[in-house]
């Protein structure tokens, strides 16, 4: 057994490490927020000012004038809402099929699925774009939403692993009672794996909120912009870089995901923990 003293020293060192790490992670955000609340005279000074001398709201006002931030955020939410339910449900269904059933060619199909995970978006991007513009849907949200309804490879991969660790007995007893596999999936598996599904749903939301290339290609109409596109167009719209309003807009754009992380953090951690722990 080690002495208490050694233990204390080690623990303090660890906490010091965590603290330094956390500061490194947070400092850019601190600087973003601090800039957002400063007037230009305090932004462009040497040496720097750590804190604004008063809470200065003009940058936010200006930011909302340059781009319709709320509208852009709602546009993004709209895409996410239409996308996520289907994406999670279908991914879970496919994952369940892979996890529980023996059928000819299963390994080959799964291999194909894995291969699609390493497939770069750019390899399919241009013909897919052509297809959507041929259908007259290129300047719409459809190309960003509809493909999700065929399941996402990484979610299927994750959920297959997760389903494989569930004990099979409960499902077998339901088979004895005459339930078919789709009923089992719907009535047993989905409720049972809610934390994993919520985690996936959260990731799907993040994926939508943070997607850049797809939105960049498909959305041209500034009224249809997502928040990320809006932010990217910010400097072009003003012609010069207005750091105060730009940081204010960035700050507002990040608020929903930060809020989501804070309120749903349980599902992040739970989902990860439960991946490996047997039921």
């Amino acid at each position: 057994m080690r002495g208490d003293k050694g233990e204390t020293v080690r623990k303090s060192l660890l906490y010091l490490f965590y603290l330094v790490g956390s500061v490194l992670m947070l400092l850019p955000f601190f600087w973003m927020i601090s800039t957002a609340f400063k007037p230009d005279t305090e932004i462009f000074t040497v040496p720097i000012k750590w804190f604004p001398s008063s809470f200065y709201g003009e940058n936010f006002k200006k930011a909302f004038q340059v781009i319709p931030i709320i509208k852009y955020m709602l546009n993004t939410v709209y895409i996410a809402v239409l996308k996520i339910g289907g994406e999670v449900f279908i991914s879970a269904l496919v994952a369940y099929g892979f996890a529980r059933f023996d059928f000819r060619g299963k390994n080959l199909f799964f291999l194909i699925l894995l291969a699609t995970m390493m497939l770069p978006y750019e390899v399919t991007m241009i013909p897919t774009f052509m297809m959507w513009s041929y259908l007259g849907l290129s300047d719409s949200y459809v190309p960003l939403i509809l493909p999700a309804y065929f399941g996402a490879a990484s979610f299927i991969f994750f959920l297959r692993m997760y389903f494989s660790t569930l004990p099979v007995e409960m499902e077998e007893s339901m088979v004895m009672d005459g339930a078919n596999y789709f009923q089992i999936f719907y009535k047993l598996i989905l409720p049972l794996t809610k934390p994993a599904l919520l985690t996936i749903g959260l990731w799907a939301f993040l994926g939508t909120w943070n997607d850049l290339l797809g939105q960049l290609i498909y959305i041209n109409d500034p009224m249809k912009y997502t928040i990320q596109l809006g932010l990217a167009s910010f400097s072009n719209m003003t012609g010069e870089t207005l750091w105060g309003p730009l940081m204010a807009a960035s700050f507002v754009a990040l608020l929903p995901v930060i809020f989501l992380l804070m309120s749903a953090q349980k599902y992040f951690v739970e989902g990860i923990k439960m991946t490996g722990i047997k039921g």
């Binding site: 040497v46 013909p127 065929f150 490879a153 943070n210 290339l213 990320q228 932010l231």
Partner: protein, 308 residues
């Protein structure tokens, strides 16, 4: 380790053949949506990309077959090679630094300490943030005149550095931000891997008199090697496709200093409307990823411990 600790994938194993057929059918039905998606959004577009790579096409007129001319043009294009090299260099630096740093932090986070949840959350904040906001914020931090980083340098008595305006440094600055932003993702993945290492193993090792260091090398490392390998492969594949941060921070500049492969591909296609050449670039990128993945599996895959 002979005993199975993590439950293995168990499937229904019916004995009679009508039941077996029903099994098959159910399995097929369940994976059907993904299979259709694969044909519509993967296989067909890939074939089309390969085909369009042999054409000249500006989105307005019909594609014209020009054989290998696109590839010839690209191989003679200085900026193409530049973007190719930038991407390789980006990957070679980003992947080892990011993944090993994440492993280190994950190991240090994987213990029972108060306030642990808080630390974990802090580390994953950058990952959940959109890259344009992150990129803009770091562009501001890297600002030569009024940026925070140069403030730190000057207060230490050093000269100001044009991080994003210098030909030589801009790429490293973007790589740094990339490591910073996605570190949390890798930490989460590796933490999940560390948490499935069964506690019984550590307890048994303690009974046998092993110290923490021995436990780390003999239990943690072998047990986590499959997921760490997975992390490395995924990281490499993602980094070869890097687009967001260079787009948001420098848009390829100054000059071509941060014009990574995908950024050039995007600009070729959607700014210069050279869709044919952009498709050829897509094919080359795909080939690059396949070759790189093959070599990683060949040289690292054999060292991974899959026994559980």
């Amino acid at each position: 380790m002979e005993k199975t600790i993590v439950p293995m994938a168990s499937t229904y194993k019916p004995k009679s053949s009508p039941k077996k057929r029903r099994q098959w059918l159910t399995g097929y039905l369940m994976i059907l949506p993904n299979f259709l998606g694969f044909f519509i959004f993967m296989l067909a577009p890939i074939i089309a990309t390969v085909g369009l790579g042999f054409t000249e096409w500006d989105l307005v007129n019909n594609p014209q077959w020009i054989g290998l001319a696109n590839y010839k043009n690209l191989f003679g294009d200085r900026i193409f090679w530049l973007s190719f090299r930038k991407t390789i260099w980006f990957t070679l630096l980003n992947v080892p630094i990011q993944s090993f740093l994440a492993l280190l932090i994950a190991v240090l986070l994987n213990r029972k300490l108060k306030a642990l949840n808080l630390f974990r959350t802090l580390f994953i904040i950058p990952w959940i943030c959109m890259s344009v906001a992150v990129g803009l914020t770091w562009t501001w931090l890297f600002n030569t005149q009024f940026g925070y980083i140069n403030h730190v340098l000057t207060s230490l008595g050093m000269e100001r550095i044009g991080w994003l305006t210098s030909d030589k440094l801009a790429l490293y600055a973007v790589i740094f931000v990339n490591v910073w932003q996605y570190l949390g993702w890798h930490i989460i993945l590796l933490l999940a891997g560390l948490q499935i290492v069964p506690q019984e193993l550590y307890e048994a090792a303690t009974v046998d008199g092993a110290n923490n260091w021995m436990k780390f090398w003999k239990i943690t490392i072998p047990m986590i090697s499959p997921i760490f390998f997975y992390d490395l492969v995924v990281n490499m594949i993602m980094t070869l496709q890097i687009f967001d941060l260079p787009f948001a921070m420098t848009n390829g500049g100054p000059g071509n200093a941060t014009r990574v492969f995908n950024l050039y591909l995007y600009q070729k296609g959607f700014s210069f409307l050279q869709m044919g050449e952009a498709c050829s670039m897509g094919v080359i990128l795909f080939g690059l990823i396949m070759v790189a993945t093959f070599f990683v599996f060949k040289f690292l895959g054999s060292r991974v411990n899959y026994e559980m």
